[in-house]
C-alpha cells in the first residue's frame, strides 16, 4: 500500500471549442486550484505538466510552459506525455515527488486546444510509425477500434445498440448541470440511434468529440495538509501500469495483438490490470467504491470499463446500465460528471478532470449531480501504446 497525498485544491477551465491558446486554459485552471487551496503560486514547489502534442513545442514542454505563464518562481518542473494517460502520469510524478519528501506542495496542470474531427497522426512519410501506418494501410481511425470493441460485446454477450445508447442518455443527464461540461443537453435513445453511424455499431452521438479545456490539482503531503486544512480528500492510489505480455486484445494503434503461441495470455488482461493495480495500492476493492469516472470514448467502451473495474462480472454490464445501477442514485454511479460524452476529450487535461470531479463529489460540492454519501471513487483510462491510468481517491 502506498502512503496518501492530499488534494488541497482543484480547478478547471470549462470544456468547449473556445479557439484560444491552450496555455490560457491551463492558467485559469491552475489559478482556480490555487484559490480553492487557499495558497499562492509561490507556495508551489513543483509543477507537473501533462503534455499536448497538438500545440507545437510549448505543448511538448507543458510543465515549463505553464510555469512561465504563471510567472517563473524557481519551482521544480516535469512534463509528462502518455497520450490519454498524460494527466495520470503528471499526477503520479507529483505524488512521487511528495512521497519521496523532495517537495511538500505540487501543482498538476493539463490543457489542450484540439482540432475538429478525427485525431490524425503526426504528418510526414513515417513508415516506421505504427500510428501513421494504421491510417495509411487500414484507415484504422480511433472509432474503428471503438467499433471493433463494441461489436465484440454484441457478438460475445448479445449487447444491443439500445444498450449502448442508454449509456449516452445517462451521461447526458448527469452532465446537464455541470458548469464545466461542453454539451449540456438531454438526448433520447431515438436521437442517438437516428444520428449517423460513424463506425458500426456506433453512432455519431456515441463517440466522444475533441475539446478545448484545462484542469489542475494542487497536491501536498499529509503533513503540510494538516497545517492548512481539515480533512482533505486523499489520493490513495495511482496505477500507471503497462500491459503484461502477451497482450491479447487488439489495441490502438496496433495491427495485431501479441501472440499467445509461446506464452499463455496473463490471467488479467491489460484493462483489468489497470484497476487491479489501483485497488491493490489503495487496499480497497470495487465494493468500496461509491462511484467511478471512466473514459467513455464510446458508449460501448464505458460498459467494458464496468467489468474491468470489477463493478460487475464480464457480460453483465448491459444489465447494470439497464437496471440504472450506474445512474446517480443507483448502486455505483458512473460518470456523474457527464463523462467524455458531455465533455469531449481534452487529452492531457482529461485524466486530471476525472480526479477533480471525484474530489467535488467527495466534498459534497457537486451541485446538481451529487452522489449522496460518496466516500471513495476510482478513475480509469488508458493511453495509446499501453499507458495505464487509474486514480483512487477517498474522503
Amino acid at each position: 500500500m502506498a502512503q496518501d497525498v492530499a488534494i488541497l485544491g482543484i480547478g478547471m477551465h470549462p470544456w468547449g471549442k473556445w479557439g484560444r491558446n491552450f496555455v490560457e486554459y491551463g492558467v485559469k485552471a491552475a489559478n482556480d486550484a490555487l484559490d480553492d487551496a487557499g495558497l499562492e503560486w509561490n507556495d508551489v514547489q513543483f509543477v507537473s505538466g501533462g503534455d499536448t502534442i497538438r500545440n507545437g513545442y510549448p505543448g511538448y514542454v507543458a510543465g515549463a510552459t505553464f510555469a512561465q505563464a504563471l510567472g517563473w518562481s524557481g519551482a521544480k518542473v516535469a512534463s509528462s506525455y502518455g497520450a490519454c494517460a498524460s494527466g495520470a502520469q503528471a499526477i503520479n510524478t507529483a505524488r512521487a515527488m511528495i512521497l519521496s519528501g523532495i517537495v511538500d506542495v505540487a501543482m498538476v496542470v493539463g490543457a489542450d486546444a484540439a482540432p475538429k474531427g478525427f485525431f490524425a497522426p503526426t504528418g510526414g512519410e513515417r513508415k516506421e510509425d505504427p500510428d501513421w501506418l494504421r491510417f495509411r494501410l487500414l484507415g484504422a481511425t480511433n472509432p474503428i477500434y471503438f467499433g471493433l470493441w463494441a461489436r465484440r460485446r454484441m457478438e460475445l454477450y448479445g449487447a444491443t445498440q439500445s444498450d449502448f445508447a442508454k449509456v449516452k442518455v445517462k451521461n447526458a443527464r448527469h452532465g446537464l448541470n455541470n458548469p464545466n461540461a461542453r454539451y449540456r443537453k438531454e438526448v433520447t435513445e431515438e436521437d442517438i440511434l437516428a444520428s449517423p453511424v460513424v463506425s458500426d455499431p456506433l453512432h455519431l452521438l456515441e463517440i466522444c468529440a475533441t475539446s478545448d479545456g484545462g484542469a489542475a490539482i494542487v497536491m501536498s503531503s499529509m503533513d503540510f495538509a494538516a497545517k492548512h486544512t481539515t480533512d482533505p480528500v486523499r489520493i490513495k492510489a495511482v496505477s500507471t501500469v503497462t500491459p503484461r505480455y502477451p497482450n491479447d486484445v487488439i489495441e490502438m494503434p496496433n495491427f495485431a495483438t501479441d501472440s499467445a503461441a509461446a506464452v499463455a495470455a496473463p490471467e488479467l488482461g491489460f484493462k483489468d490490470s489497470i484497476a487491479a493495480g489501483a485497488y491493490e495500492e489503495a487496499g480497497l476493492g470495487p465494493e468500496d467504491m461509491s462511484m467511478a469516472e471512466v473514459y467513455d470514448l464510446s458508449t460501448a467502451l464505458e460498459l467494458d470499463w464496468y467489468e474491468n473495474l470489477g463493478l460487475c462480472k464480464a457480460g453483465e454490464a448491459e444489465r447494470m446500465i439497464n437496471d440504472g445501477d450506474t445512474t446517480i442514485g443507483g448502486r455505483v454511479p458512473v460518470n456523474p460528471s457527464g463523462g467524455l460524452g458531455c465533455f469531449g476529450e481534452a487529452v492531457p487535461a482529461q485524466a486530471i478532470a476525472q480526479v477533480c470531479e471525484l474530489t467535488w463529489q467527495l466534498r459534497g460540492q457537486a451541485e446538481g449531480r451529487q452522489v449522496e454519501g460518496a466516500r471513495a471513487g476510482i478513475t480509469i483510462n488508458q493511453g495509446l501504446f499501453g499507458h495505464g491510468s487509474s486514480v483512487i481517491v477517498t474522503s
Partner: protein, 148 residues
Amino acid sequence: MSTTKTKVPAIEGWFVADGEMAQLLGSRCKSCKSYFFPKEDYFCRNPHCKGDDFEEVALSRTGTLWSFTNSCYPPPKPYIAPDPFVPYIVAAVELGEEKMVVLGQVAPGFELGDLKAGMEMELVLDTLFEDDDNEYITWKWRPVAAGA
C-alpha cells in the same frame, strides 16, 4: 480500374503475393518461438526471453473472425481515400496457429450483414489506392465461403 497500371505493394516486406493468394510475413523468435506481426527483428518482446535471432515466417492465411466494423466517413491523411469516398469494413481475425488477432480491411463486395464473429476468413490481395501509374496492393480479409 485500369489494367495497364503496375501493381506495387503498398508497403514492402509485410506480405507476399502469389497470384491472388496472399500471406502476411511475420517473424518468429528462434529461442522462444513467439510470433510477431509486423516483424520484430531486433529483440524479442517476450519478457522471459532474451532472443535476438528471428526467422521470417509466412503467417496462416485463414483464421476466425474476432470482430468487425466499418468507416462511414473518410479518415484523415495519410489514408488515401477515393473521391467519392467508399466506406470500407475492417475485420479483426484470430489466427489459430499463431494465437494472435490481425487487422485488415475486408475485400470489396461484402457488407456488415455478411459477417459474423467466429466465421472463417481468408487473406486476399486487393487494391488499397491508386495513382496515375500504379495500383497499390495490400492484404484484405474475406469470408472463406465466398472464395470457394
